[in-house]
Symmetry: C2
Subunit: 142 residues, 2 copies
Amino acid sequence: MAHRLKEQYKELLDKKGLTYTFERKRIFEEIQKISVHFHVDGLYDRFKKQGERISRATVYRTIPLLLESGVIQKSAGNGKRDFFEKTNAKGHHDHMICVKCEKIIEFHNEKIEALQDEISKHHKFKVTFHDHRLFGYCQKCQ
Amino acid sequence: MAHRLKEQYKELLDKKGLTYTFERKRIFEEIQKISVHFHVDGLYDRFKKQGERISRATVYRTIPLLLESGVIQKSAGNGKRDFFEKTNAKGHHDHMICVKCEKIIEFHNEKIEALQDEISKHHKFKVTFHDHRLFGYCQKCQ
DNA sequence: GGTCTGGTTGAGATCTTGTCTCAAGATTTA
DNA sequence: TAAATCTTGAGACAAGATCTCAACCAGACC
Ligand SMILES: [Zn+2]
Ligand SMILES: [Zn+2]
Ligand SMILES: [Zn+2]
Ligand SMILES: [Zn+2]
């Protein structure tokens, strides 16, 4: 999986006339080590902590490339920060979030995705990503 | 409708030992003139444009009071700003948000709502509210 | 090799959204 | 009236994110 994603990433860079630099390589690799969600400064801190001098600006600059190539995707962020998660084998999914214990249940429903397409097409709106979250109580917390 | 909301607002202020000041009155009134969605600086700008000297801090400070009294509710954020909308006759709806011009298109789809119910039921998850936003480019911004 | 060209980077400035501080003015209470 | 309490405006501040710019690097060209 990671291999295919790396190819997509390299292809995007190539398509844009950009180089697969040391920094862009390291950022890709480091993300593969993160289990689930992350925010950009958290990612930057990992480099800083390891003594690698990759600048904050570069990390921030690389995020759009990772997003566009599908290596990562926007994740359900609760607060001020943008959160991301690496694209996993399951591909796109949405979230149910327990407001009590913060448990996250992922779901994916093709019908909903198709309806979204239909609706946006009808409004001539070109969707680049979406955020669909159901808040409430998980089985244990009811 | 607006009258009942104003009463709720006044009651909340009273309950909290706060005064129904000129500024708090003007902010309530101005919101009634806004068709649907707004963000706080947008509201502030309306006063500035009209030459009314109500400070940004006061507008920001009043928002929690309006929220708590039910005069307004959180609405779609565009990913950066918090958006609000006044509580009114309009029922539940979701949003498409243009990431370029910030235009908001509302949509409502019973099938999606029903599928959400189905999915959450299947996971024994009790949904209290949801947030469904499609981000992208409106017709003009493509 | 040396030079030109243009992508890339780091450091810090800047912008954006929202909160907080504090002194002055207004209001209520004693 | 004086003291206590609210309220406000202006601007400082904070956090997240983006932008600027000079130095740097890599390939193209001579
Ligand atoms: Zn989805
Ligand atoms: Zn729970
Ligand atoms: Zn909905
Ligand atoms: Zn709306």
